[in-house]
Amino acid sequence: MDTRYIGKPIKRLEDPRLLTGQALFTDDVHLDGLLHAAFLRSDYAHARIKSIDVSEALKRPGVIAVYTAEDFGDYWHVGPLQVPPPIAIPNAKFHAKGLPPIARGKVRFSGEPLAVVVAESRYIAEDAAGDILVDVEPLDAVVDLEKAFEDTSVLIHEDIGTNMAALVKQEKGSYAEAAAKADFIIKRKFHIDRGSAGAMENRALIASWENRTQSMTIWTNNQAPIPLRNTIASNLGLSDSQVHVITAFTGGGFGPKIMTSQADDVLLPWISKKLNRPVKWIEDRRENFLATTSERDQVHYCELALTRDGKILGFSDVFYHNTGAYDPYGMTVPLNTMTHTMGSYIVPNFYTEVRMVFTNKMVVSPVRGAGRMYGNYVMERMLDAAARELKLDVVEIRRKNLIQPEMLPLHTGITGQDFVENVIDSGNYPETLRKALEMIGYEKFVKEDQPKLRAQGKKVGIGIVTFVEGTGVGPYEGAKVTIEGSGKINVATGISSQGQGHYTSFAQIVAEQLGVEPKDVRITTGDTDQFDWGAGTFASRGMTVAGTAIYLASVNVRKKILKTASKALNAPEEELEISGGEVRVADIPTKSIKLGDLANRANPTRGVIEPGVEPGLEATAYYGPPYGATGQGSVAIILEVDPETFEVKIQRFVLVHDAGNIMNPMIVEGQIMGGVQMGLGNAFYEEIAYDEYGQLQNASLMDYLIPSATEMPPKIELGHVVSPSPLNPLGLKGVGEAGAIPIPSCFHQAIENALENKIEITASPMNPSRLFELTHK
């Protein structure tokens, strides 16, 4: 397809503003009479609240108000759930426990808000929070995942009589039959922990109620501005049209900013309305670690049934998922694990069971990867375990089980986070593996380089894995494209942007259709007054779903242009061409009309228009896929392990990726690299460490290790395979989370290889101390 803009590495239009400090972030917003909020948060992980005495705090000068749960009266409510329960899956058991905005009666995680202080400045508010006296009766903390599932001696939610949050089982075929026929059954237990999103910009919200216009304006960096607006309007008994959510530039989302039921989302609008003054809150880094959602641990008991020569007959995975103290985000994360375990491989019989457990820890919501990583980790590690026990080659055991292109589309038989069966739409799995092996020079490394380096005493290893990524899920997104009288193009869509380059990639789609340059297209995302139908930015769906809606709207605008221009220029539509911001008759360049003039013609302020014709050159379109599009790829890493310190240095990093048709290769590379950094963090550096009392031990960047430039591979070599998705006209698939998903499994395989399989890694993250312990067991 010969295109001007689609598929081209156009430089990002928003970058000059972002790099010179000309972009508005939520914290930049200053309003007259702005008040500042600070939260008093529980130190105890599990306790009954006896009393909260705010009298001292109120005496402090500059303090306007202090609120506890009782002060909100009937307004205090729990939830609602942001993701519905998995009723689509038969026999699913689920206990809905939405997130309370502020603790009442009982505290269930360290960091849960106990009181809100509103003052003239943030400093005063925080000092006043320190004046508040809280009397609690501490209870034992529930922290052990497996124990909590059965043990009812300490209950987090007494009314349900159990700490089990959910129990969901899915099966394709029959694992029991497969196991009976198998030559070998490999069994392993894995403990996989993830961590915080650690976005550079923390959560922030400004609520500004204006009594004279009876309207509420919200500035925030939320990933779901439309659901947020609807929730706030509903909470306060207002019309949706009275609430305007504006998403400023956002310094990274990665998942946690999708929450719309946290303390700030629910309480600040109420407070602003009560005081008739704007109120602002922005998180500090410690609060971000302590009280913003993240991903937690899962414990997997896996079984792999194979034939003698390594063909997979069946896979069984019974796993525990730690959802934290409440489950407002439903089962998105464990469902993603379920749909990503079979990965790129043919698994004729698959049994998966999740035991979701409440613990006295911060609530779980997706973090880049959103549960997919656990599925990838267990399958790839099980294949490595099988290769180890059956003395098979790690590449061969993967190659012979790969799903072949002619088998697609493939109905997997497992229901996913969008509550429909996961279907793999397109792909060429053998090709991504072949390409990755070629790019890293697998044969040469294993046969020549590695033996030489090993002879010198160097512990170098190579790892190779494949991965799948479910993207572009429903329900839908929409967009409105308008050509204005000035000739400028205005595009609005409901999702919000957190740095993915939407302002450029979306403009490319429109520019291609309407014959203008991307810089002439103004994209607005996340402003509910400009467009207010949509679900939000998550699950790598921005480009695929909103992008497709933008495409469909642009196609309709193009049709209107040709129809209107045909009349204006008195020429048949087939003879018209659109480029350079104007429409002209192909052979007669003088017969032309600028797009802006055409738009004005189509929107007269006097006279009559044809009945049934819409004014102007504008179209709104919606797109919702029947199921998500599946991206895929292969990763190869060569690394070196220091035999004394067990520090690991990556020498080469290859990632071959298939995300269908690529809109902007430069932006895609950036997305993959960002994902790789987070994947590396999960493999070797990042861990949210709670002690046995539910106390968070590393709530600062001093102790929570986010990989920096020195930990990254010297170069990320990217390869591309293109299998367009048949699910949308542009053949797009999502790519945002691809980089993060396969890293821990590949990294750990490479470490085992470097240490000549003298250890076996069954837990993530690893770090030098743990490697040392494993080697010296």
């Binding site: 130190d43 410690r286 009392y693 102790d703």
Partner: protein, 210 residues
């Protein structure tokens, strides 16, 4: 977090026991303690200023003495909370009379630390706790000395350390432990060396340009 240790006091056991049960002495042994009120024979309450690295603030708390077998052993239960977090602990203390007119004390216990203290001060808690215990004992040694001397007629004044002296001492202890880390020492040497080299280089370049 488990804490355990031992200390030898220069005095007979019953004197040591009486001293331990004197709230004035206890309060002074932990400087930063603003007050320690005796609610009953076994219950005390008070406030204390604490600093662990970047985290500081005042704690209010209760101390309960139980399972007393004077002058042999007892259990201390502490429950303190404040803006920086909370500290809860249970400790068992044993005293053994030695022939040399000294008392051998052992203690072991479990302490839970929560809040900002735990999540930001974690890496310093160990060294600060050790330092506080060490200084507490030093202070109590001096108090015991004064007490025994006064009993025998001599006038010896016991001056507990001030809060600033205490904080400075803790900081010194923590810095000393940091200094034992090779990388820290290297940085301490490398930086002045680099500055010196740069200075020499600058001077030389100036001379050469003349």
């Amino acid at each position: 977090m488990k804490i355990e240790g031992e200390h030898t006091f220069n005095g007979p056991r019953n004197e040591v026991w009486e001293m331990i049960r004197d709230p004035e002495i206890l309060a002074s042994a932990l400087p930063g303690t603003q007050k320690l009120n005796k609610l009953s024979d076994t219950d005390y309450e008070g406030t204390m200023n604490v600093r662990v690295g970047p985290v500081s603030g005042s704690f209010s708390g209760k101390l309960v003495v139980s399972d007393e077998v004077p002058p042999q052993s007892c259990t201390l239960t502490v429950d303190g909370k404040g803006a920086p977090g909370f500290v809860r602990g249970v400790g068992h203390i044993k005293f053994e009379e030695q022939e040399t007119n000294t008392t051998y004390m052992t203690y072991e216990g479990e302490v839970t630390i929560g809040g900002t203290l735990a999540s930001v001060g974690q890496r310093m808690i160990d060294s600060v706790a050790k330092s506080m215990i060490r200084q507490g004992f030093e202070s109590m040694d001096k108090a015991l000395e004064a007490r025994l001397a006064n009993k025998s007629g001599q006038q010896v004044e016991y001056k507990p350390p001030t809060e600033t002296e205490f904080a400075a001492s803790v900081a010194k202890d923590v810095a000393k432990s940091w200094y034992q880390i090779a990388e820290v020492r290297m940085v301490m040497y490398v930086i002045p060396a680099a500055i010196l080299l740069a200075l020499i280089g600058y001077i030389l370049s100036q001379l050469l340009h003349r």
